[in-house]
Symmetry: C2
Subunit: 346 residues, 2 copies
Amino acid sequence: MLTNKTHIELEHLGKYKLIAHLSEYFQLKNNSSRLGIGDDAAVIAPAKPNVVMASKLIQEHIHFDLAYFPLKHLGYKAITIAVSDIAAMNARPTQIGVLLAVSNRFSLEAVEELMTGMQFCCTRYDIDLVGLDITSSHTGLSIAVNALGEVSPEQLTTRNGAQERDLICASGDFGAAYTGLLILEREKKVFEVNPKQQPDLTGLDYVLERQLKPEPRVDVVHDLVKCGIRPNAMINVSEGLAAAVLQICQASNLGCELYETKIPVDAVTFETLKSLNIVATTVALNGGEDYELLFTVPQADFDKVRQMENVAVIGYTQESAAGCNLITNDHRSIALRAQGFEQNEL
Amino acid sequence: MLTNKTHIELEHLGKYKLIAHLSEYFQLKNNSSRLGIGDDAAVIAPAKPNVVMASKLIQEHIHFDLAYFPLKHLGYKAITIAVSDIAAMNARPTQIGVLLAVSNRFSLEAVEELMTGMQFCCTRYDIDLVGLDITSSHTGLSIAVNALGEVSPEQLTTRNGAQERDLICASGDFGAAYTGLLILEREKKVFEVNPKQQPDLTGLDYVLERQLKPEPRVDVVHDLVKCGIRPNAMINVSEGLAAAVLQICQASNLGCELYETKIPVDAVTFETLKSLNIVATTVALNGGEDYELLFTVPQADFDKVRQMENVAVIGYTQESAAGCNLITNDHRSIALRAQGFEQNEL
């Protein structure tokens, strides 16, 4: 996309020029995007009655490590993170606004790499970049993404609508992104000890891609419509499957039975974790950054759900008094737990 | 507002509990706010055809210094900064989403102070907090505010609609916020040398308040309607009056004559700057953080503009070839310049 690959320090460019330059590569495509970058605010004329809004802030040293995170992937992932929350409302993402805080050690080339990744994600999912602001940072890169989407009131799906004895369904698989992170952190340590040693990442493409370039499950939102399913409740699985299940149950005042044997874990994830002596279920339940969708449907929708690609039924809801339980592979029932519900690392 | 003033370290609170606790103090009041904090995304049912969106990110050490910035004021100001951009579209602000990155040296009390300031601003301007996320930071406080507003297409005002020989009008006065900052920085240095010396801030309330607790000029948007004025162009004056005038002229492909003698500067600002041996006009043109509105109207609206409180006509637009000029108090014409147009500190 951005052809100017000369190494230019950001401080030598005017802020307005930089924003104007970067915004050239983003054209507005959605009819609802009436005014994009360049005024005090963006203007949107929503085609549907409900607008949904979700914002995410990610920070260097906390959420990502530029030692192994390519900027292009980071840009893509930043969009995914915010857009996943739009998809989780059963809404179609339409616009995003981006705020960057960059240190002046960043070159124009680096910012362009980041924006190229954002452009890829926006193009892939028909999302318009309608806002961009860049400020300086003494302390590393910060990226805030604000995403808007549109949905009809009939399609809108919140966390709190699950009914007793709904099927609990999940898209994709779990634990891969966290496994990818473990590998990247391991290779970083190896590199620190011996910078000449090449990283051994053979066969690990899947878990690395899930960490470095996750996709927002906008396709699931489309598939739900195609299969005639309007879930009773839906949530973005960003902080582990267990937290997502507990959040739906808590919001809907229900309990659940979740089956360990039904939790989808990719073979590469499983084998990689095994080689690290880590139980895959633990990572699938608590790893985070999966950006899959978890939703509940009435049992009557079972045949419809079976038509959906890569969607698994992993349990069912039950009355609140029965609790939230994990039925383990050896048929024990244990209380489902997640970080953030009791105490949390923030 | 928040009654729990016990010193609690954030790491001892769960993230979900913290967000739930803080959100209790924000009730949804706008009919268009259908779902606030607590789901993956907020849901808005806009009452007007156009939604405007503006986002701002402010960071400790870059945009504010907690050595002298009370957290309550900082919360208020963070909202003002984003909402000013909504007002500049001639729109009514309706919702905000807030993202915080806080270091774990922050107590619950500190976060509550910050949110109290946000609550004050939201209450004053009938804005609903519909999104809140909190993440950790190794490097100081970051605050991202995303603001939404509503406007009819007839009222919507952009930067690029100014016509030749429009009157250039400005709300309020200029240079006060920057003057306040100079004073606060001076007193900080005095304190560093002699911590026992009390700061001398007598008579400086106005410039300090303009720095620490600026107001978004939502009232001007209401007054414009009341006086039957629909400006041809409007912009938020956040980076100095000169930059704002140049941005309207550039977007509208016009030049202008700006009269130094007409630029509104408060008496306290003027006297304070004089005591610091700084020319008031320089600060009024380039100081920044005024958050006033600059707009242009046809000459036929002159009598209507005169009805508006605290709005001054400071110049007029002209053909592009005539350039953008400042007519000084001694009747010289000099080219108007601003940071960010040639090169910028980001």
